[in-house]
């Protein structure tokens, strides 16, 4: 059979902790993948490489983008005009065909992102979404009662601030540019990036100035 068939390729992680046999769907995954490789439609090496790409993506990349936007107004303007091009400027490649729209939080507007249909998410800049982003309660409720959803994260947005919920699609993804917290004027770009969390870039929490001993109101 195919070249890689002798003993396949998951040295990077033990397949099972115990002697539990693989489940039905894991067997299906292995079978589909091996059939596609045998038929020459994909290569085993492509799967391995893509796993490495997935492993290389995490919210620190998005945090770098946010911090740069805070310190560099020209970059912020370019990022808001074209999110994908802005990220690529910082060396963050997009491995798919998706476009990225960056949504800026202001004193008047708070942005929240969701994918009601499934789990579309700005993976190139944030990595994989948390499970709750993919589960029904968040997807169902974010678009109809965002303030109640935010309150469950401890986030209370004043009534005079508009909440805008953006529903992601297969081709268009969103990233929230959070407000820079007060009292961070002296922080370096790297220190600023360290304040930016994944959840802040989804829009469910603000960025807190932890160095100042907790976010002032």
């Amino acid at each position: 059979m195919s070249a890689h068939d002798h003993d396949h390729d998951h040295d990077h992680a033990p397949i099972q902790a115990g002697d539990q046999p693989p489940g039905y769907y894991e067997i299906m995954e292995t079978a589909v993948r091996e059939l596609l490789v045998e038929k020459g439609m994909i290569k085993a090496g492509e799967i391995r490489r893509q796993i490495e790409v997935l492993d290389s993506r995490n919210p620190a990349l998005g945090a770098k983008v946010v911090a740069r936007a805070w310190v560099d107004p020209d970059f912020r303007a370019r990022l808001l005009a074209n999110g994908r091009a802005g990220c690529e400027e910082l060396g963050i490649s997009f491995y798919d065909d998706t476009q990225l729209i960056v949504l800026e939080n202001t004193d008047k507007v708070h942005n929240l992102i969701v994918c009601t249909l499934c789990s579309c998410y700005p993976r190139p800049v944030l990595g994989l979404p948390p499970d709750r982003y993919k589960l029904k309660p968040y997807r169902a409720r974010a678009v109809i009662e965002p303030r109640a959803v935010l309150a469950e994260f401890g986030t209370h947005i004043p009534e005079d601030v508009e909440i805008r919920v953006s529903d992601s699609t297969a081709m268009v993804r969103y990233l929230v540019l959070p407000k820079r917290p007060a009292g961070t004027e002296t922080l370096s770009e790297e220190e600023l990036a360290g304040l930016v969390t994944r959840d802040a870039m989804i829009g469910v929490v603000p960025v807190e100035n932890v160095a100042a001993g907790g976010g002032a109101a």
Partner: protein, 108 residues
């Protein structure tokens, strides 16, 4: 195996705006096979064999009952199999034989 394996229904997965319970603050690290499944999805997209929107519609086509019973990546792999059958790139018999082979390989 389980009753989930027998269903094929079509119901939409468009749940935005429906009532639902509290946000579940759960996280888990992907199992190795789940990560391989995710990488497979991306590679299938790169080769224009199955794109993201086809995958999404394919998950919808599983029907709400099965969607509710399968985990996230279980839905994906079942969907890939269905789409590959529809596109006549794989046959159900080929997959069944390969799954038997894979299962036998791992049980000493």
């Amino acid at each position: 195996m389980t009753d989930t394996e027998a269903f094929v229904k079509t119901l939409p997965n468009d749940i935005g705006g429906l009532p639902a319970g509290p946000i579940q603050r759960v996280e888990h690290d992907l199992e190795p096979w789940e990560k391989r499944c995710h990488a497979l999805a991306d590679v299938l997209d790169f080769h224009k064999i199955i794109n993201t929107e086809e995958k999404r519609r394919g998950v919808e086509a599983l029907g709400s009952e099965l969607i509710g019973k399968l985990t996230y990546y279980e839905r994906w792999i079942v969907t890939f199999a269905n789409i590959l059958f529809q596109k006549q790139l794989l046959t159900p018999e080929e997959l069944a034989r390969k799954m038997d082979e894979v299962a036998a390989r791992r049980s000493p």
